[in-house]
Subunit: 297 residues, 2 copies
């Protein structure tokens, strides 16, 4: 497959996800107007949709139909977006720019931002629970994995460790564990749920996907840290240089810039290797690993 | 059944729910310590456990086993507790006392309070999704109802309307709609999920439980407004007189004190009438309606 075909696939999936979110988010005309409008403001029309892309790539590999994938992708993206909205609030990172737009607490107010995040999380579970083309027993398992990835053993737990790490000098292992929870858990579950939208997974398939996910999850964060240290806010669509300013430990602060870039490249190769058992069919997942490492924003 | 038997049953269920929450909340010794400890701080050892009591009463009526009920009760209570934690934050009600203890953002900090709420919501869905004694198809339906009751068409939606109503003079109908979402949706789903933990419901059973739930949901709020206007903070375990101070519309401000008390009594009778088809077996649900209306805190 050519790079052009990959770009076209990315755009196709992004458009599919945008349509799905349009459908699965509450209508702006419905009560409560402001909350629903703010949910749509933050979830629609932006973002790289990395988690949905992973779910679709993995789902295509396991023969998932697009109706189920649209629900999986919307659910993981809603969890992701809610986490950004809460993370940007003054009591957390206090950021006023996200995806090139004012953050929710700036465009609306803090109380609305709090509720937007809360309601998006509930909506994520609802959208997935309504995936009635999937066998109920498998769907229950998927809901369980989503909840675990979002909670204290996953994303929220990683956020908590992140908060507690401000001003501390973490070891590379501690930093890695934090990111495996904070961003890794949701990237991993996006890959797994996409595959499960196709069929039940054999243990060795689950293991291969988990190895792939772990590599791209870390790579994603290493690249984030490199970009935060080297790119400008306009390119990133969010405030650059925040980590250093906030005195947060990063791969760049622990390893240095060039070793961080080398690590990202090594993780990209590990991701490719994990996909070997799936052969040519896993090309989209390989290309996504490349995209994650080579992105400029 | 005597009043004594009812008190004993309430205490028995409260103890059962406390044990279940102890089990289903993350261990304080697990990483991230502070987040897990704060989740336990706010969820354990307090509260009237009204939603769990409703789930157990309804579950007993429909032959649910206690293992499944413990999960249903823990899930609805976790959603309720998360909503209190977020509701108490400075950007919402800015309250520093809850269930007689400092609120989470006071005992810890705002960022932790935000994450405690987020993680409790995820944990609620996980605890229910792991109810593996229930048939998967019914369990999926239960998860869907829980998500709907928690989100923009339920509790979060009611919170949003509440926020937008500060300083406005609502009609009684508008006030009722707000409360049917804000507290009614979660009370209703507690009754329904408790019953579904026993078996699938027939439409007329669902309707009777919905009518009962609507009446007690409104009664609960009317009594809350009466208590806020008449009781002291020590009795309530939270700051009394907040609604008037915050210029929030209440039943007392719209109807007056005595008509509000009369309305609560009327709703109690409506709740009893809705239970007529279930006969003597629904005694616990009747007694809970009485408890909700006659409580002093």
């Amino acid at each position: 497959m050519t790079e052009l075909a990959f770009s076209a696939w990315v755009q196709d999936v992004q458009a599919d996800v945008e349509r799905a979110l349009e459908t699965f988010l509450p209508e702006a005309a419905a009560i409560p107007h402001k909350l629903n409008e703010a949910m749509r403001y933050t979830a629609l029309g932006g973002g790289k949709r990395v988690r949905p892309l992973l779910a679709y790539a993995s789902g295509d590999l396991f023969g998932a139909d697009r109706r189920a994938l649209a629900r999986v992708a919307s659910a993981v993206e809603m969890i992701h977006v809610y986490s950004l909205v809460h993370d940007d609030m003054p009591c957390m990172d206090d950021d006023d720019l996200r995806r090139g737009k004012p953050t929710v607490h700036v465009a609306y107010d803090e109380a609305t931002a709090l509720l937007v995040g809360d309601a998006l999380q509930a909506q994520a579970f609802q959208v997935l629970a309504e995936a009635d083309t999937l066998p109920p027993a498998r769907l229950v398992g998927m809901l369980r994995l989503l909840a675990e990835a979002a909670g204290t053993k996953g994303m929220c737990g990683g956020q908590a460790i992140d908060l507690d790490s401000v001003g501390l000098s973490l070891t590379r292992e501690e930093l890695e564990r934090m990111h495996q929870l904070k961003t890794g858990a949701m990237l991993r579950v996006s890959v797994i749920l996409g595959a499960m939208a196709g069929r039940d997974l054999e243990p060795r398939e689950l293991e291969a996907l988990a190895t792939y996910s772990k590599a791209i999850g870390l790579a994603f964060q290493v690249v984030d840290d490199v970009l935060d240290a080297t790119a400008d806010s306009a390119t990133l669509g969010k405030t650059a240089g925040k980590d250093a300013a906030d005195n947060k430990p990063t791969y760049v602060s622990i390893l240095g810039l060039e070793p961080s870039r080398a690590l990202a490249e090594q993780l990209r190769r590990e991701a490719h290797e994990a996909l070997a058992p799936f052969g040519e069919q896993a090309q989209r997942l390989r290309e996504l690993a490349d995209l994650i490492v080579q992105r400029k924003a």
